[in-house]
């Protein structure tokens, strides 16, 4: 796999531009404008936020084009949209529409139970979720130009995002101390290409930006995952399911910038309204989890 390929560099390049920022889920132009004014570095255009997808059930698909188009027309920041895992035709449609990033997302109902989209074949960049290093490297091998932890979307509970970022960071650290012959074995264990395992062993990081998502509801949550190694955050239901979305959005933007500065984090945490209601992930059925989708 050639990381120096111009097209791949452009895809990773946009992810580089989003570092230190907050990507916010929005369901209409009005919310997108609020997000942009609050300082979002990008928005994710959706028909329903994950908390509502979870509540309403049924099959969750790519959003209505009209909604995505409205959002694209209303803001100047990048607009992302989600496709179902493996649904390369939904991806072709979003590419034709001209969205800036596609999230091949476990939040939607998977379209293929074995395969993800061959993302190299697209001009538009993709972000994919991961719970561990093996999953992250398989997605990168397929052409993902950005990785985000899956967490547990729509739960308002940070515990899964923390588990996933800690796992990925720890697995990367472990590779850096191994000899070359051990990497072949690790490649087998991780079920990931040796070339990518070798890159991580040498650099101690993924060859693409590593963001966090799934359960971030407060400025403190955002700063927590960033201190653990995430380079930016996605906030789904956490903003527009809270009591005062605008204030919360601004506060999380501030927290993503000053994630190591306790005084700024205190300022960001003051005068926030009620956060979104949270779910205890440990009491959820396996079938209710979104993070187990994707292979």
């Amino acid at each position: 796999m050639n990381f120096q390929d111009d097209q791949f560099r452009l895809k990773v390049g946009l992810a580089e531009m989003l570092k230190g920022g907050v990507i916010m889920d929005v369901v209409n132009a009005e919310q997108a404008i609020i997000a942009e004014k609050a300082g979002a570095s990008a928005v994710m255009a959706l028909e329903r936020v994950p908390a509502d997808i979870r509540k309403e059930g049924g099959v969750a698909r790519m959003s209505q084009i009209r909604i995505i188009r409205d959002i694209m027309g209303s803001v100047s920041i990048p607009v992302m949209a989600k496709v179902r895992i493996g649904h390369f035709v939904e991806a072709r449609i979003l590419e034709a529409l001209g969205v800036d990033y596609i999230d091949e997302s476990e939040v939607l109902t998977p379209a293929d139970e074995e395969h993800h989209v061959d993302k190299h074949d697209f001009k538009v960049p993709f972000v994919c979720g991961a719970r561990n290093l093996g999953e992250a490297l398989r997605r990168i091998a397929e052409g993902a130009a950005m990785i985000r932890t899956k967490g547990e979307a729509g739960s308002g509970n940070i515990v899964e995002a923390v588990r996933h970022i800690r796992t990925i960071v720890k697995e990367m650290k472990q590779l850096t101390v191994l000899g070359k012959e051990e990497l072949v074995h690790e490649s087998k264990n991780l079920q990931a290409p040796l070339e990518l395992v070798g890159y991580v062993a040498e650099n101690g990081k993924l060859p693409v930006p590593n963001f966090s998502a799934g359960g971030i509801a407060t400025p403190a949550d955002a700063a927590l995952v960033m201190q653990l190694g995430a380079e930016a955050v996605f906030v789904g239901s956490g903003i527009f399911k809270s009591a005062d979305p605008e204030t919360r959005a601004k506060a999380i933007v501030k927290a993503a910038t000053y994630y190591r500065d306790p005084v700024k984090l205190l300022e960001a945490s003051e005068e926030l309204g009620e956060a979104m209601p949270g779910l205890d992930v440990s009491k959820m059925q396996e079938s209710e989890l979104m993070q187990t989708r994707g292979w």
Binding site: D6, L14, M17, G21, V253, A256
Partner: protein
């Protein structure tokens, strides 16, 4: 004399790539998030990222005026979003800016991400690679602005006095030529400033 120290505004964007590029030309880099961080710098880089996000934070965290003051005396280099922040006038849509360079700049001038490109441009009689990502287009340059490189007749690398702006991302290329050039401008500013006193 100590090592030259250049700050990189680290509110959001690819500030880390700039820090690494500075280190490759033996300049000490430092991430800037507050007005006090500006104190011992010889120059500053405004990185790529989202200009609206940076602008909101500059305003809310009361960094807008300190940066303007900094730019009155010391060199600033802006890339992409940073070039937007440096310009006198921003269009598509209009938004406030530091106004330190006499430029009119159009945001997302080439279109969306699918229109992003890696181009080859001529800089000082040498071909250089230029990475354009949702890049702005400079629509007007003032009479004191020196155009150093163009792409399809539009200026993409410009300087006005001590300041420098690129609509592309030299920090994402393997070459450090443009960072070295900026470091020389910063060094020159120190030398000239010293000779006045």
């Amino acid at each position: 004399m100590g090592k030259l120290k250049i700050g990189v505004l680290a509110l959001q964007g690819d500030f880390e790539a700039h820090c690494k590029a500075l280190e490759r030309v033996s300049v000490q880099s430092s991430e800037i998030r507050t007005a006090t961080d500006l104190e011992d710098l010889a120059g500053l880089i405004l990185p790529g990222g989202e200009s609206t996000t940076m602008l909101k934070l500059l305003e809310r965290e009361r960094l807008f005026e300190p940066l303007k003051q900094f730019g009155r005396w010391k060199p600033i280099f802006g890339t992409c979003a940073g070039a937007i922040l440096l310009s006198r006038e921003v269009v598509h849509p209009a938004q406030p800016s530091l106004g330190l360079m006499d430029l009119t700049i159009e945001r997302n001038g080439y279109g969306r991400q699918i229109d992003s490109q890696v181009a080859r441009i001529e800089v000082g009689n040498k071909t250089a690679e230029a990475v354009f990502i949702r890049a702005p287009i400079i629509r007007r340059v003032g009479s004191n602005v020196n155009v150093l490189a163009t792409l399809d007749a539009a200026p993409v690398l410009v300087e006005e006095g001590k300041h420098l702006a690129a609509t592309f991302h030299p920090e994402l290329s393997g070459s450090e030529r443009i960072h070295r050039y900026f470091a020389e401008k910063v060094q020159h500013q120190i030398t000239c400033g010293a000779s006045l006193h």
